[in-house]
Symmetry: D2
Subunit: 497 residues, 4 copies
């Protein structure tokens, strides 16, 4: 889900938030649902904790205890929100769904924290969403015209109203009816008095998988959330599949027309946790293979391979193994950043203050250094890191990137800067190298990326198997809202500052 159905072209993102690295793409959400255990909320909190990398702004859990739903949602990290036993104790029930939310712009008010809950004529329903609908604004306008009152500015709430107004029965048919009207990328969890539902959009852009823990079923974004509670990985939810878990066990329907699978390749490059297995691929291993392919495509004589911590490490290990050049932690990261930190006065900042990173001079001074990073977004962080490495005495600095140049924004649930802020849309590779100040810069090719993902022939342009729109501009799902030219104010209520 994102706040506002339309792509955000002007994010005034909070620059003080330590988790907010302006120079990365950001996954916007994590999902975890469980059915059939007396500790549903505790398991869900643990699962959300394992998925914290997918969203750090806020989190919520809704449970059902056989009579009532229970709800707790707040801004902050999962451990801070759900770390107290007293909070978990109020979330009674044997089924639960939970959601992590990324620190986005504008719509960061409490009313947008998920799961969202509503009372229908058939009873309560809680809903959590990872992805982004591409016709939500148009649908919302129509629904408001018909007398619907929205309580949030998320695209997700459109689904709720479509379910409320659907004349079908039973609930699953109302869900199918509603989803038949939305376009976009989505993985969804829903919880009713009767069942837990898991859904993936017909192209399967966002991940969702199934696990088992004793008698309980779990549906969650990544397999690492199964590991933390000792659950067993069963399988991925299929694109276009609706999985229903209730007292009779798990069953599955596929009510939508079959389409080509287009899983988001950036999940493999950066978003997913390295210890997760997604779409049958181990993420750490995939990143190492990208690093190896990168070394093959873009070799360079050097003394040391240095990862940009922490996300560059697996590709750097692959690059080092392939190239035979030693791997060293040439940049050290300080993990104690706290909630916020000093915005130092100008003359202090110009000293080159480094709250997060420091060069490990012993392995940099006098060396030819290859920096390996996962991607370049705006390039500002890369520039600072190169400057830091140079001032620690590097003789040469070469940058190798484990992704193709990111030229296009994402409209399918990832927070990306507007196009003009993407370094790769402003410069060619030579210009980018100059901007960040390296002796050489190289990216893996789009075909190299597909090879590393196990397609020896590279990308099949006629029928690509991933969503790679951020590298190619090839958007597989129609962008209706984007093409609508009307003013798109969602609410007349100002968001809190």
């Amino acid at each position: 889900m994102v706040s506002g159905a339309a792509p955000r072209y002007n994010p005034a993102v909070n620059p003080h938030h330590p988790a907010h690295d302006l120079d990365k793409f950001h996954e916007e959400c994590a999902l975890f649902g469980i059915y059939g255990t007396s500790d549903a909320a505790a398991h869900t909190a643990l699962g959300l904790h394992a998925l914290q990398h997918r969203g750090q702004e806020a989190a919520g859990i809704v449970t059902f205890d056989g009579r009532h739903f229970h709800n707790h949602r707040a801004a902050g990290l999962v451990g801070d929100i759900f770390g107290e036993q007293s909070v978990i104790a109020t979330l009674k029930g044997y089924s639960a769904i939970g959601h992590n939310r990324y620190a986005t712009t504008g719509g960061s008010s409490d009313r947008n924290i998920q799961p969202i809950f509503a009372d229908f004529d058939f009873g309560g329903l809680a809903l959590a969403h990872n992805g982004n609908l591409t016709n939500a604004y148009l649908l919302r306008k129509e629904l408001v015209r018909m007398g619907c009152l929205f309580q949030s500015t998320t695209d997700t709430e459109v689904i709720n109203h479509l379910i409320a107004r659907s004349s079908y029965s039973p609930v699953v048919d109302r869900i199918i009816d509603a989803l038949g009207k939305v376009k976009g990328a989505y993985s969804l969890l829903m919880l009713t008095a009767e069942a837990l539902y898991g859904v993936r959009d017909p192209m399967g852009v966002r991940p969702l998988c199934i696990g088992r823990l004793e008698d309980a079923w779990i549906i969650t974004s990544e397999s690492c959330a199964l590991d933390i509670i000792g659950a067993r990985f069963v399988r991925d939810v299929e694109p276009g599949e609706i999985v229903i878990v209730d007292g009779q066990g798990l069953r599955s329907i596929k009510p939508f027309a079959k389409q080509q699978r287009r899983f988001c390749v950036f999940e493999h490059i950066y978003f997913a946790r390295p210890d997760s297995k997604i779409e049958n691929v181990g993420v750490y291993e995939a990143r190492k293979r990208i690093g190896m392919e990168l070394a093959k495509e873009n070799p360079v004589p050097a003394d040391v391979i240095v990862p940009v911590p922490d996300s560059g490490v697996p590709a750097a290990i692959g690059y080092a193994q392939k190239s035979g050049i030693p791997f060293e932690l040439g940049i050290i990261r300080n993990h104690y950043v706290g909630r916020t930190f000093i915005e130092p006065a100008d003359h202090i900042r110009h000293l080159g203050v480094r709250l997060k990173h420091n060069a490990n001079r012993a392995h940099i001074d006098g060396k030819r250094v290859v920096l390996v990073d996962d991607s370049i977004v705006r390039g500002t962080t890369s520039m600072k890191i190169v400057e830091m490495v140079r001032s620690a005495g590097a003789k040469e600095v070469h940058m190798r990137i484990a992704a193709p140049p990111t030229t296009d924004p994402c409209f399918y649930g990832i927070d990306t800067p507007e196009r003009e802020k993407l370094l790769a849309s402003r410069y060619d590779v030579a210009g980018m190298a100059k901007f960040i100040g390296v002796d050489s810069l190289a990216f893996i090719s789009i075909d190299g990326l597909y090879r590393a993902m196990g397609m020896p022939g590279g990308r099949d342009a006629a029928n690509p198997t991933f969503c790679d729109a951020c590298f190619t501009g090839d958007y597989p799902i129609a962008l209706d809202d984007l093409n609508d030219t009307e003013d798109r104010q969602l609410s007349f209520l100002a968001e809190p500052a």
Copy 2:
């Protein structure tokens, strides 16, 4: 507004809240709206502060700045929520409405704090309500069946959905259409981009008045909220009147069929502030006249007239003046109670701990004491005060009450205990005297009350001019929800503990 359309028969009220005197009826809300000043929020905060006696649980303000609505709502006292200039500064605009809410049971979750705001096809609308709808549950059931999603459990939100689904135009006609469907006691404020609306139900059960401050118009519950900002009292809003303030000034319509005025007499007896003028009557003066009438009806030889502080003071002064017996502060109140206080262990409590009151022994010891109080609800506080006065040495203790016996609950916006907890519904006057431990007990008669209110003939049973249902059981507005026999669960979401 109240949470839940039906009367609350089993309130598990927070006994730790110092403002919560279980032995009083409680007003449930206050309203303050202003149109046409650059400091709309600051004035509204001051007005709500003056009306704090009508609700201490939570408060909210919504403003409109010509483009956006701004909203801040929180639990606590007005001074704590809106006391900081930084909060007021976020509430930009030249028009505003605000609401105080009483510490009720159950529905005390944040989602029920008013004003409630929603986006309609015509734009935003904020709504604040003092009173209680008596057919809200039935309407809600019907609306949910038609696909409406409710975000709160207040009766007030029904009005919102009725407006959203109305096919009339312009906005004022949608409001009239919606109000035509609801029954109950209500004073309402609404704020749109175009106008501020003030409405009183056709019987005028709850108060609402109009004031003027330079070019700005104010609509608020009591005149004391005009005094605090130096505004001038203009007139009461009439029963059944809709007042509309916009750039053209103030105009008025009366779209509903005219009915007998039935203003709540308990506002005069206890709820309203003594310095307010309501329905053309000064409240302090009315209470003194009740005390005088009480002295006439129920004289007793005594040495001293002692008010039960603070609400019994005006009637005690009236009683003293009429009877010629000296008035003394025989009971001293400690105003520093803090947010919560020790629930002392049993053996300490049995020492007779008195957090709020202490007897002023010099004026009690050896005296024949007349205690004057405004009303008796459960009788438990009266019992403790009588015991305290006796243990300070009183020779005789006589209790005189400036209201008739309260035998029936209120369904029109006042928080009252269920009928079985009302002392007057369990005992006759002799039994009540025994329960609270006095030598004599007397109440003003219902006719005496009407006489004190300026009707020399007493109550005209065929055509009474006040709502006095709590004394007479004569309910002037139909209680549809109460007579509906279905289960009345409003939401499947459990309220926070």
Copy 3:
């Protein structure tokens, strides 16, 4: 105790604190100690709550459980600090002392909250102080020169160091040795592993009394703190007396040379609670007698006697009874002020915003009004109240004050403005009347005050029985620090803003 041994000539008092009425003198502390009950902390918290009027900034309790001392001190009201059972539960023990502190200037940092605790070679000792030492700065300078490290800026800590360095034994002799070196007004409580000590300075300027609850002994500032826990008043501690309570019961010594008793008369006029009995006089009764004497000395033809709430009420009742003019609540006070409140913008403030008071127009309009107040300090509040009463339509406004003009600051434990800010030191009575805008102004005479206190001959100038320095400039205890001309920086550590 006060922060800084020297009188404060320029208090930059927090104007936002709602409890801080700049136009009153302020008592600076309250004491409550108990020995011999298993709920020592709970009783102490209740006692401090009853004494909240003597200090609202901060409070602390130290208990002793037979092995360890336990300590909790914080800023805020007693009910907020000690209202939770969980806090009381940590304060184990059968003996305790507690302290309320007034919101003074400068030294409001946490390190100055009492009781102060220290470890001596003989064990732990906690100390709480009401009053002010007049040679503390000189003593402190000397002690620092000898190698003592101070942890606070209170005058009270001097006593601690004097005890620590005393070579006497046992503890009581060290206390006597220490107190023999200090000058000033003080009531003290001390708690050691063996005993509870209560001390009053040789002139008995500040109050202290003894109570009994079953087997426990209590020593506290006012008798109302005995009432709240159902304890029995035994007697006042005598001037110059040290009372010692331990396992053997209560004993008393009087080690200091006997001096003329000089109890602070302002305790009777304003500080003490009306339901307390102090120095054998009921406070409410004393205030009424002052009001009667005032009516005798300064009669005026009028329609209504109106107290300035809340402290003017008893004197107003006395004035009304003596004069035969009706007593009415012509000014209504709003008790819900919250922790802080809006400092409204200038143009709002000029509307005459009244957060605390409102005129009750019905009893003011067209009337000749006598306002009765307890004292005039700066006169600014009086001026505003007169203006409010006039704008409510009063025909004449006469002010009668139940104290002589306050011409001189206090150096004995009361927070007073510097002399130049005292209205009575700037103007004669006619000038004061003009300043506050009344038709007539009168004060009780100093002889009238003594008569009301039971001395038919008025004040015996050779041998006055009260400390009345604030009215007469006759300071009974030497002001050594004041006469020392050195710079008087107590600490190089800046106080928190």
Copy 4:
């Protein structure tokens, strides 16, 4: 500094604190001082942030602005305490000292947060301490006997009182006089109105170094704190040296008898940050060399070298490079732990919940795995990690430790469990291998450790150049307090729970 001069034999350490890894030794403090810049507090906050790994419980900064000292100390992380510009703004001045404190047991009350400040006859002095005095308890007893009042339970305060009572002059001579009486390991910073002082004990057990930033001088625990503000490393403070920085620049005295240098070798093994240079050795490089030496001493046929994150990484890289076996991130760490986290119910915990680590199955399953860690303390974490690696499918698990067995507690400023809880004091290596469940276990030898530190001949038992007491029991500084047999209650005041 530690709380209580004696070693803590029974630490009831808070098991909920996420930073508290019970299975590591813990550095207890960090120091940062600066003299001669207008942003002294901001620089100090940045320096303390870089040193956060040395203490996470609390932090404090004292500055001097030419007239007053300013002080802010609180529990929490540096970024949370000092991250707001408004806090830094109150800490005015051109000189400052700061301190980080580790989450120790007992003495965690606020009164023990450093720097401690006191007013002396010569003016103010702030003091911060890294290390532990071994005769502090004996000195304290003596000082209390002489009339000193202590405000904390830290050993550090003893120094303050010794300075206060010293009859020498000027200040530096009082400091020398005081330090002449204390024994133990200490690095100290002091700040007076005139100067910044840095001191290292005669054996130089704890680190301290000097840096330069434009005109300002810095004295701090590790060089990484210089890097963060762009300052230049100048040199280490020498054992026994007192460095004095004032308006005249930096000068140095060495007033104590010269002794053999005995720097703590565990700083190199685990405490210091890998990017710091300490005692002329780069820490990351030292750890890699230890890993290489370990591989030489204890080879094993295997498929993969896996570091226990994060501290095992450098040694694992060294081990991998030396052995030629591939290095892989076989264990993934979750860095989002939040402040606290669920203590899951028993049956959940038994599922093997892993809040911090997860196995990266792709690199474990079917492999012979060598786990490399920096040390083993209690062995409980090692056991869980081995179990996790086995359940991810490892064929063999070998553990290699980059330190000798830790058999003895530290009394020089490091928080270690009591001896009986140290795994190496309970079992021989075979027993330890069985306890943690590995196929083989090996430690680097003490001689191997010295070789890795650059001493080809290994450890010279007659004249070792490091303090290695935790491996050898050879304590270079006398443990007076430990050998004193009296009861050692420091204060009769109970610490907060």
